[in-house]
Symmetry: C2
């Protein structure tokens, strides 16, 4: 994708600002806008929409006017200033923190991502799994999602979900309770607490993990935005686990996206007498894999060398690590495991920062987690007699 204007100009402030504006104008996943971005770049698309010239190719009059009518909403400088003040950053394709696996979405790739939280999204998403399911789930679904979220997090995997009631929330809570990595992908602005009953949970995800949205701050969710959000969850992760879902449930759309993108599709079975497992069983009969715990999920997705060739050593070279992560890595003893608090002292960073960086390093294959302790991963260790490269 290096030949597209949107990529070359990623570091260009004008192009970035135009993408900020376009997140207010276009709905998520608009493939026509996606194609324009690839062909003309964001600035050119914005200029055309704001001007009185010819329509860009492929847009009928009504479609064009619809987009044009929303250009007034876009105040990109103000949006960026407000976002920065609120600790929200904006990522575009080509940024170092941009998760490259989103490129699999083709023309429906997000225009940009609004992100809140300290961790480095690209690294956290490298070893991640989506855990999704019914909002109106049963106690069984809550229990399974929470145990699965905790189990994945304990093993150094990032739990990505939609922060909705039911299964989503339980999965996030499980990961948070295990002191692990979790990302909430919202169908609204990262500063909007939706659903309202999850305001506190969403706040905690933003503090301990990451909140991600295609929609700009202040924007609210709609029915279609929920479905379109699901494609981002599917694309970010190596696989999607559906915990409970009724037949024809909306929560199956993430699994369908995952399948289309060539990601792993997994389902947690339940009683065949439960309508809330019927959708999962249908999925499993079609082509998903049965999983009953975190170890089975990891057994499946952990071998997908494509996104993180863990078996062949760390996924990125050591010298691209952000400064703090490099400090934490340097502070790890060459033998044995230590607790994150110990390591924070040795590295001269806060305990919270140490944990965030350790999880990144884990996702990248540099370190391994053993319960509450961390150690250098075998592949990342120096050969005997040789210093770490």
């Amino acid at each position: 994708m290096n030949d597209e204007p949107g990529h070359r100009l990623a570091a260009d402030a004008g192009e970035r600002l135009a993408r900020v504006a376009l997140t207010r104008i276009a709905e998520p996943g608009d493939e026509l806008v996606g194609r324009w971005l690839r062909t003309h770049g964001a600035r050119e698309v914005l200029r055309a929409l704001r001007g009185n010239g010819a329509r860009l190719p492929g847009a009928g009059e009504r479609r064009w006017d619809g987009l044009r009518s929303r250009t007034d909403r876009a105040r990109p400088e103000a949006d960026m200033a407000a976002a920065e003040a609120a600790g929200v950053r904006f990522l575009v394709p080509g940024d170092r923190e941009w998760p490259g696996q989103l490129d699999a979405l083709g023309s429906s790739r997000p225009i940009g991502l609004w992100v809140r939280g300290a961790p480095y999204l690209r690294f956290w998403a490298l070893r991640s799994v989506a855990v999704v399911g019914a909002r109106a789930c049963t106690d069984y679904g809550v229990h399974v999602a929470a145990v699965l979220g905790a189990g994945l997090a304990e093993r150094g995997w990032t739990v990505i979900s939609g922060a909705a009631y039911g299964v989503d929330g339980a999965a996030h809570r499980g990961a948070l309770a295990a002191g692990g990595a979790t990302v909430g992908v919202l169908a609204c602005g990262v500063d909007v607490a939706y659903p309202p009953g999850h305001a506190e949970l969403i706040r905690r995800i933003g503090e301990q993990g990451l909140l991600v949205a295609e929609l700009p701050p202040q924007d609210h969710p709609t029915r279609s935005r929920f479905v379109l959000r699901n494609r981002v969850i599917a694309a970010l992760t190596r696989g999607t686990v559906v915990v409970e879902a009724a037949l024809r449930s909306g929560s199956l759309s993430t699994a369908r996206h995952a399948r289309r993108l060539g990601r792993f599709v997994m389902g947690v079975p339940g009683p065949v007498t439960s309508g809330l497992s019927a959708g999962v069983h249908e999925l499993l009969r079609e082509e998903g894999s049965v999983v009953t715990d975190a170890a089975e999920v990891i057994e499946l997705v952990g071998n997908m060398g494509e996104l993180a060739p863990r078996r062949h050593g760390p996924a990125v070279p050591r010298d691209v690590l952000p400064g703090e992560a490099a400090c934490v890595l340097d502070a790890l003893p060459s033998r044995g495991a230590v607790e994150s608090a110990q390591l924070a002292q040795a590295a001269g960073v806060t305990a919270d920062a140490a944990l965030v960086r350790l999880q990144e390093l884990c996702a990248l294959g540099f370190v391994e987690r053993l319960g509450n302790r961390w150690q250098l991963a075998r592949e990342a260790k120096p050969h005997p007699g040789h210093p770490i490269e």
Copy 2:
């Protein structure tokens, strides 16, 4: 297999009697004896065991002496007389009622089968499914097995199981309650009520369905006989459904046999929090298919043209039908469905006999069941303007 002495001599009274004797001498599934039978025929094997000549090839001294020590137990004429008096028949390979799919067992094919019950085993086994599982199952397992047994029976499929406590019993009861076809394959003589608490159930299976055993009358089950019995259940059926099973449960051995024999392996999922579903989930993760009801089972096994090419019309020619079955078939109206009692009157047979024959005809693809009514199958109907062939 037509070139083997055991087959050619099937109708030979001496060969048959020798096989009767050998069911008292050899344990079920003894592959060495199976190979001797294929090479020498049953009479020759029996004569060698009873005589003082050389050992048959492949048997060590201890093995040979072990078999010889049991020849005194065999009183084939008395066994046959007692069996006939008790309404028990003995089938050997090559008999018309012998289910040919047992040949897939190779050298471990049963020496013969002791059968109790009016229906024709070969026809009933043509469209059959094994429903098996844990003895100490949960209420969920009982419920699922009973509904599955009833659902399969209602759709004209024969439910085959082991008459054990738990899942097996529930599957048989479901089929019986639906007025359908069920076969109990026992690990003891067909006149032994084991387990004792299922004496009444086993009596009912023998009256309404079929009891089948490799072991001769009066013989009792042992631990190894249960496991060996499972291979017969797997071989008789087009597929095996495991309803509940703990990890490493013995009830998974039927599924393993089914897999080895190229039959369908299916499992009913349950809560991942239940140890009694763990074995099923493991099976499903290895290679079994998720099924949640009878329709899904039939969708899977019903397309296996090999055993009963139903889509190409009935599985056997009309003129091999036993007399009573032919009468019942003739009595069916060329259009519309009738109840079995009505049909019994028209055919001049008892209501019980009509039901048994209708189920055979259903297994053979001549008739279809619609709830409590029966009609000619589409494929078996004459072309317009042509009489039934």
